[in-house]
């Protein structure tokens, strides 16, 4: 009997107008979306390759130790799931005066949009009248009059309805997968296809959740018109309102200073420290003037040992020649350098310590605020699904953190390599200058970004996936309870 109900429900649905509309909408949007995103992905890949080449070329021709920090290659390649899901793009993480403002006004359209907006809406449209519609047309009474349990009816409706609902989704997904697999610019390995499969399963969990929500509301309503209004009311709250409001609520509950303010605090501290440093230099200078007299005035005229410790190559050469000719002058320079260094070192240290402390504090606070927002938003299935889909495909917050982590490791490796290279260069040439001498980095370690392992991703998404399953169970149990006491007249 269950089979009969499933078959009846399935055919009833696929012969309906909403099925046709859902099918057309899903297939057209998915194909259009994937085609455009694949093209976009190709452009981003080309842009990434160009950036890597530019940086390599510069390092091969202009690398100096003084600029090494700014020249560490840290380019993030486009995510491999970019043809399906638009992640938090590299552009958004670059604070530039010339940022493109359009994506802020219109968030991009991708696979996540298809599942969270179109499929969830379609799921509600498939189930809002599953019980009320039959009650209003009188067929429910006839069915119940036979020797069939209510459990079987509800189960049949759920299975038949879900099966018909998933046809447009699976079909459009297959078309999308086919397009991705035949496209030469996209090369997915086994892990990527496994992630795609898991993404499909997570999407199905999300879609059935909304089907069950519609079914539940239908068992608690008498009329289809009321049921659809309640469904849309909840849909608006769960999809459009709660997830978007939660980050703002968390920002109010747990306040953090803005990066603007921290940056300003850092700059003001540095500015004041440099002022103190200038005063110290003047004091030392005064002492040297009284001790050494004319030779020190001569040294000062070369702008030697200025606040930034820099002087022009011509002056540097003149100072060196003068020091070689006059041992007393050399002693004076060395003594001045040493004293200045000893006096300013604690100030440089305090600047660095202050910088590190300010930003570390802010990062910790921001991480707490993000965690709070993430947990608050978990009451919406939309947020849970977004976390699962993004983290599984490496397009979410976790992938950003993972990139930062791998990038940090690479940076420290590169830094050690740079220091070693500079020591070698100094050994070969004692006149080697940090700021201007070319540093050969041809055998430098290259940055190769590797995706996080599937196991790691899966461990991270399982709690959120679990919440989605829990929503399914709760809605099914509620629908079951509602239908058990439903008045079919």
């Amino acid at each position: 009997m269950l089979k009969t109900i499933i078959t009846r429900e399935f055919f009833n649905n696929i012969l309906n107008l909403r099925f046709m509309i859902g099918l057309v909408l899903c297939v057209i949007i998915t194909i259009a979306c994937i085609m455009i995103l694949v093209h976009d992905y190709r452009q981003e890949l080309a842009d990434y390759n160009l950036r890597v080449n530019l940086q390599d070329e510069f390092l091969d021709n202009y690398a100096t130790f003084g600029r090494l920090f700014w020249l560490i290659p840290r380019q993030k390649p486009p995510e491999r799931f970019r043809p399906l899901i638009i992640g938090i793009s590299g552009d958004e993480n670059v604070e530039s005066f010339d940022n493109n403002p359009l994506p802020i006004l219109f968030p991009p359209l991708d696979f996540l949009f298809i599942v969270t907006i179109i499929m969830s809406l379609l799921a509600l449209l498939f189930s809002y009248d599953a019980v009320t519609g039959e009650r209003q047309s009188g067929t429910l009474r006839l069915v119940i009059a036979n020797s069939i349990s209510r459990t079987k009816i509800l189960l049949g409706k759920f299975i038949g309805g879900t099966a018909s609902l998933l046809i447009p989704f699976i079909l459009s997904l297959l078309v999308g997968a086919l397009y991705v697999s035949i496209n030469p610019s996209i090369q997915w390995d086994g892990a990527a296809w496994a992630e795609f499969l898991l993404l499909t399963l997570a999407s199905i969990t999300f879609i059935t959740l909304f089907f069950l929500l519609g079914l539940m509301i239908s068992t608690f309503s008498r009329y289809s018109a009321t049921s659809i209004l309640n469904c849309l009311f909840l849909w608006v709250l769960l999809i459009l309102v709660i997830p978007n409001i939660c980050p703002y609520i968390s920002a109010q509950l747990y306040r953090i200073p803005s990066t603007k303010v921290i940056g300003m605090q850092e700059k003001v501290f540095k500015y004041n420290a440099l002022k103190v440093m200038g005063q110290l230099r003047e004091e030392i200078g005064k002492r040297f003037k009284s001790n050494y007299g004319k030779p020190f005035y001569e040294l000062e005229s070369m702008e030697f040992g200025g606040l930034l410790g820099e002087c022009s190559p011509a002056n540097l050469k003149a100072a060196q020649q003068r020091a070689e000719a006059d041992p007393e002058f050399k002693t004076m320079i060395n003594a001045f350098r040493e004293e200045l260094g000893e006096a300013t070192l604690p100030i440089w240290r305090s600047i660095k310590e202050n910088e590190d402390k300010l930003w570390e504090d802010l990062k910790k606070k921001a991480a707490l605020q993000t965690k709070l927002a993430k947990n608050l938003a978990c009451i919406s299935p939309f947020a849970n699904f977004a976390y699962v889909a993004r983290d599984l495909t490496g397009t979410g917050l976790r992938s950003l953190e993972y990139f930062e982590h791998t990038n940090g490791e690479y940076e420290s490796r590169f830094w050690k390599y740079g220091e070693k290279k500079m020591e070698d260069a100094r050994e070969k040439n004692p006149a080697f200058e940090e700021e201007s001498s070319f540093l050969d980095l041809s055998d430098r370690p290259r940055f190769m970004f590797k995706e996080e392992s599937l196991r790691g991703k899966l461990n991270a998404v399982l709690p959120y996936w679990g919440i989605l399953v829990l929503f399914n169970v709760v809605f099914f149990v509620a629908a079951f309870a509602g239908f058990m006491v439903y008045d079919v007249r």
Binding site: S96, M264, S436
Partner: protein, 417 residues
């Protein structure tokens, strides 16, 4: 007769379950949104004031005060309210207020603009989807038309009555929210802002009327409420989400533009080149090296900005096929958080640092160096309308006329049996 139809329609709606649900939803959402965005505005204001109060910070900074209208339409406010500093021909911007909390990047800003654009437009369609076909199903339409009642009067009456009953709760909720905001001592709304708020609400009414008319048109084209509802939701998805979002991506295919990452990398490499060459060369060559650096930077910047402007134009033209996009452009421009304002501010910032001269950070840091503070006058309503606002306004009116005329024609040929 028209009056009776309007009255009947209003009373019918007021007593319906649909009305209760929508009034609860819209009131809660609008009030929550205004409260949340008000708190967000207070945070932005705190940031602005703490930066302005750093009197011992010597470098010139270009920053503007957050506009209170961002509470209603945030748009590009985060971009607009960044602080700008000039450094060797480049403009450095500080991060956005909440930029370290990446979760903001995953979700949309829940401001009044979003509520109107997405949620209330859906409510408008829900109000109108069964106006004609619903009455046909229960048989009252046949009875109404069996009297000496002309079809145009009936449909006009239904439109006016239905729309008034829909728009009233919206106005009450916005009014309550606005009172709450204006009572706060933090928010300073001047006359121009009041005018802008009025225009924003007017454009919102125009926008919502489009979806109401569209719902009515679909109702006149279908014979069953369930079909009308499905088609309405389908069309709503296309107009509100699909065209604006897909259009934006499509524009990027038409206008090729390098990523900001590429632009910033080129600048960074160029800066490194400057530093290295400066250290290698004599003082006499510094000016020449610096000029080469500036010329190279200016070339990249000009090329990028030209492309970005073209992209913005193409994107605006494509997405305007959707009333949601036209409304977004219009509303954000009116609120002073849109593309027009952003463009204007960028030009003003570039001009400011150009006038300060030579882009020399060390010179600006000298104790005796005094400079004029950055000042910026946000676009007036006239400027907004002149720079594309009027076009967007006309698009909204055109959509209204088109959908209502369509509904009118369809109803004249409607089989009421």
């Amino acid at each position: 007769m028209l009056k009776s139809i309007i009255r009947k329609e209003i009373l019918n709606n007021l007593l319906s379950y649909k009305f209760s649900i929508i009034i609860i939803l819209s009131t809660i959402l609008i009030l929550v949104s205004i409260f949340v965005m008000y708190r967000d505005y207070c945070l932005a204001l705190d940031n602005y004031e703490s930066i302005q109060s750093k009197s011992d910070y010597p470098h010139p900074i270009a920053i503007i005060r957050p506009t209170p209208l961002a509470i209603f339409a945030k748009g590009l406010e985060d971009n607009i309210c960044r602080s700008h500093e000039g450094d060797d021909g480049e403009i450095k911007v500080s991060s956005k207020p909440q930029s370290l909390n990446n979760i903001f990047k995953l979700f949309t800003t829940p401001d009044l603009l979003y509520i109107i654009k997405v949620i209330l437009s859906l409510c408008a369609m829900l109000f109108a989807f069964d106006i004609i076909c619903g009455e046909k199903e229960i048989g009252t339409l046949r009875q109404s038309l069996s009297n000496s009642l002309k079809r145009p009067i009936l449909i006009i009456g239904k439109w006016i009555g239905g729309f008034i009953s829909f728009i009233l709760p919206f106005f009450i909720a916005v009014l309550l929210g606005t009172i709450f905001v204006t009572l706060s001592p933090v928010v300073d709304i001047n006359v121009q802002n009041w005018e802008k708020l009025g225009l924003f609400l007017l454009s919102s009414v125009l926008y919502l009327a489009i979806f109401f008319s569209l719902g009515l048109l679909i109702s006149c084209l279908t014979h069953q409420s369930s079909s009308s509802l499905v088609i309405s939701l389908f069309v709503w998805t296309i107009f509100v989400f699909l065209i604006p979002n897909l259009g934006n991506i499509l524009a990027r295919q038409l206008v090729r533009i390098p990523t900001v990452q590429q632009l910033e990398l080129k600048r960074e490499l160029n800066r490194s080149w400057l530093m290295i060459e400066r250290n290698r060369a004599d003082d006499s060559q510094h000016r020449e090296i610096y000029n080469r650096f500036r010329a190279e930077n200016d070339k990249h910047t000009e090329d990028y900005r030209n492309r970005l402007n073209r992209l913005a134009k193409v994107s605006q033209n494509i997405t305007r096929f959707s009333p949601a996009a036209a409304f977004t452009f219009l509303a954000t421009d009116i609120a002073g958080t849109g593309m027009t304002e952003e463009r204007g501010l960028k030009s003003a910032v570039v001009l400011y640092f150009d006038i300060l001269g030579d882009w020399d950070l060390e010179k600006w840091s000298q104790p005796g160096f005094s400079y004029q503070r950055f000042s910026y006058q946000s676009c007036s309503i006239k400027e907004v309308l002149y720079q594309g606002g009027l076009g967007n306004c006309l698009i909204l009116i055109l959509f209204n006329i088109l959908f209502f005329a369509g509904a009118h024609v369809a109803f004249l040929r409607y089989d009421v049996r």
